[in-house]
């Protein structure tokens, strides 16, 4: 008989519970950011971008080279964001634009091809030496007490960065003409074009923003997982879950979904009996929960079900 390890109930050990929730929020903010990238692209071009994680990886590796060359961490972060912006726009312009009017499945396959392509190129350029590579963080790895739990400064940094990005995007979408144009394009490209909006530029901008957010995520994840060509894959899967959970066309949904998935994952890992479920099963359980949510809300929590005309 295997001995069952069952964590004490949350009310008996509030510190453990608090720690799990807070570290869940910290990882959740990573998922939320990457999910935000996926949502930005889905809203603007109707594409589920499977290459989102690899785009982030493709930004993180050159930034690692810059760090080696002696650039200070903060400079590297901002250069990385700019590079991600450029990469996203470039990919939209060169690879996605020609398949824009093709069936959605073809576009999905193009992003899958892009996934393999970027991964392989990165392996070719950067991954020849010792792997995984160490990526430094501007936030340091010091422990701090937050209420009942201890977390690292890096986790807090990620959380703050996530909130800051969300704030910036909120302002952009709601209070600028550019953001209005992007929302209009996502809503109805045809009408937007007639109203004088440069739709092509808006789509490119959507990809560029997603690329910038993705680049930032890559640089924030790399200090934790270390850097190797597939380091974003696990994060990407959770980010998909987060994006779908919140609704693929809803940026706030992506944020909520990210935090939810991060916390749910930790709680499933801690509070399920380890002989039949336990930490190894936290991913399947989280995904099961996702599917159950989808059964009741087929377009996610905050997504819009598309009405179809016959």
């Amino acid at each position: 008989m295997i001995e069952v390890f069952l964590a004490p109930a949350p009310w008996n050990d509030p510190e453990l519970f608090g720690e799990q929730v807070i570290s869940g929020l910290a990882t959740g903010s990573i998922y939320a950011l990457l999910a935000l990238g996926i949502v930005l692209i889905y809203r603007s071009t109707d594409v589920v971008n499977f290459a989102q994680g690899e785009m982030a990886m493709f930004v993180t590796f050159p930034m690692w080279s810059l760090t080696l060359a002696g650039f200070p961490p903060w400079t590297v972060i901002f250069i990385g964001i700019a590079l991600g912006f450029a990469l996203g726009g470039f990919i939209e312009r060169t690879i996605i634009r020609p398949v824009e009017d093709k069936p959605p499945l073809s576009v999905v396959v193009v992003t899958l091809g892009l996934f393999v392509f970027l991964n392989s190129i990165a392996t070719w350029i950067w991954a020849q030496g010792e792997l995984p590579k160490v990526f430094s963080t501007p936030f340091e790895f010091n422990s701090v007490d937050v209420g009942v739990a201890r977390v690292t400064t890096h986790s807090i940094g990620i959380l703050v960065a996530a909130l800051a990005i969300m704030g910036v995007l909120y302002l952009l979408f709601n209070y600028t003409k550019l953001g209005l144009g992007m929302r209009a394009t996502a809503h109805n490209p045809g009408a937007s074009r007639l109203m004088g909006i440069n739709v092509g530029r808006m789509l490119m901008l959507g990809w560029a923003l997603a690329g910038a957010v993705g680049g930032l995520v890559g640089m924030l994840v790399a200090p934790i997982t270390f850097l190797f060509p597939s380091f974003m894959l696990a994060v990407l899967l959770y980010a998909f879950a987060a994006a779908v959970f919140g609704g693929l066309d809803s940026p706030p949904g992506a944020i909520v979904g990210g935090f939810f998935v991060g916390v749910a994952e930790n709680l499933f890992g801690t509070y399920t009996p380890s002989d039949i479920l336990g930490p190894e099963m936290k991913l399947p359980l989280t995904l099961l929960l996702l599917v159950i949510v989808l059964l009741f809300r087929p377009a996610g929590l905050f997504g819009h079900v598309r009405t179809r005309r016959v």
Partner: protein
């Protein structure tokens, strides 16, 4: 004798396409073209540039096929001829191919079954699945558990089942799993369904690792690969027998799929894909049809999984990983959605693109050698993107168009040629045709064969 598979593909294409290439002109002109290509072929053979040689070989075969058959073989025999060549080749393959090619081809046969099943679901019925790797694993483990004689399953008497019964059992278990998943899938569509099925494929290896009492955990299960049946043991090696088994099952499954798809259920699949509301208005039970598609599709994946167990002799949670699962979808999209031929082409691409794609490109002069060896995935990814860009209906779609189009119009049909270049090519083609029509060799061209005029 070992034969290059590329030469075989060339023959296949030549037999089905060559018959149709009429603008090559009169018999004399075709003979001249054949002679020129033959010289090129020999020169390359002497110089030893492998891939280019085979390219010339393929063109040569096409022209020769054209030369021999265009005037005498009716168009309707074209496909029959290609099928005959394919059947002969596949039956003779154990004696024609190297061992690793034979193993690759066995894998192709297994993936053909998965791809046909997935194409029924995605291509014909319009439901996206990224999770077919999970159904393959379910089938594979069903087979492996039943074949295990360590009596891991007490309630089925502990004896090892004969391998062919486990294939049937795998089909049933996978089919039931697909049936069960068909219900939640009714509520989802598009990207949501894609990611829900992806979730299944991600979870399956973790589940298999966790419940190791039944599945052997991370080490997996070992099975005895079935030996050739008594009586054939003298003629066939075990690998050759397994190859023929996989190809045989694949052919049977394709015939079944063909039967289903051209019957009422197949037409219902397509009707539901094109418009659920219209299909419902025509009296089709949409929910039942969609669940049927999921069930059949999962059943196919289960059969493939059972065969994979026989082929590998060991089954671990990583035998069908998440990347393979996603690649099934890539395969049918680049092969051609809603086409059985597309499923076959996709399965070949799935196996041959990673193993041979880089080599072929590496033989192109001036292509950086280092790049080919260090970044094979880059070439694979780029090829996938290019196929989608240039052939919106997959390779099979382009193929159908190719054999249905007079060769002269092919250039018009190729996507992605800039308008300027296109008109220039058209100009060149007209010049050439004009020259040919006026040439003294070309007496027959005016009362030419089957009534296809050169483009105006």
């Amino acid at each position: 004798m070992e034969m290059s598979i590329w030469l075989f593909f060339g023959l296949l294409v030549a037999c089905s396409v060559g018959v149709r290439l009429q603008p090559l002109g009169s018999v004399v002109q075709r003979a001249i073209a054949a002679a020129v290509l033959a010289v090129g072929f020999l020169v390359c053979l002497v110089l030893g540039v492998g891939f280019v040689t085979e390219l010339f070989g393929v063109l040569l075969a096409a022209v020769v096929a054209n030369l021999l058959t265009a005037d005498y073989v009716p168009q309707r025999y074209r496909i029959a001829l290609a099928v005959a060549v394919a059947v002969v080749f596949f039956l003779a393959a154990p004696w024609l191919l190297e061992n690793f090619r034979l193993f690759q081809f066995s894998r192709v046969a297994v993936w053909v079954i998965v791809a046909v099943g997935l194409n029924i679901l995605t291509g014909y019925n319009g439901q996206i699945s990224l999770g077919h790797g999970a159904f393959v694993l379910i089938g594979a483990y069903t087979s492996a558990i039943l074949m295990d004689d360590q009596s891991q399953l007490g309630f089925v008497d502990g004896a090892a089942w004969p391998f062919w019964t486990t294939i049937i059992a795998a089909a049933v278990v996978s089919g039931v799993a697909g049936f069960a998943l068909g219900f939640p899938a009714l509520r989802l569509s598009g990207p949501y369904l894609a990611i829900a099925t992806l979730a299944l494929a991600i979870s399956m290896p973790a589940i298999l690792r966790k419940y190791d009492g039944l599945t052997g955990g991370a080490q997996g299960l070992f099975v005895k690969r079935p030996p050739p049946p008594p009586g054939l043991g003298d003629v066939l090696e075990r690998d050759e027998w397994l190859y023929l088994l996989c190809v045989g099952v694949a052919i049977v499954m394709m015939l079944i799929a063909w039967g289903i798809l051209r019957g009422p259920l197949g037409r219902a699949f397509v009707a539901v894909r094109d418009s659920e509301v219209a299909a419902a208005a025509m009296g089709i039970n949409v929910a039942r049809v969609k669940i049927a598609a999921f069930t059949i599709s999962a059943l196919y994946a289960g059969v493939a999984g059972a065969l994979l167990t026989q082929l590998l002799g060991v089954m671990t949670p990583e035998s069908v990983d998440i990347v393979t699962s996603i690649n099934f979808l890539t395969a049918i999209v680049i092969g051609g959605l809603a086409s059985l031929l597309g499923a076959v082409i996709g399965a070949f691409a799935l196996v041959l693109l990673p193993s041979d794609g880089p080599d072929i490109l590496g033989e192109i002069p001036l292509f950086p050698d280092n790049f080919v060896q260090k970044a094979p995935g880059a070439i694979q990814g780029a090829l996938v993107i290019l196929v989608v860009l240039l052939m919106p209906f997959g390779v099979a779609g382009s193929y159908h168009r190719l054999i249905a189009t007079p060769a002269g119009r092919i250039i018009d049909g190729v996507k992605g040629i800039p308008a300027g270049l296109r008109s220039r090519l058209g100009q060149v083609r007209e010049d050439v045709l004009w020259a040919w029509e006026d040439s003294p060799f070309n007496r027959r061209s005016s009362e030419s064969d089957s009534g296809e005029e050169a483009d105006p």
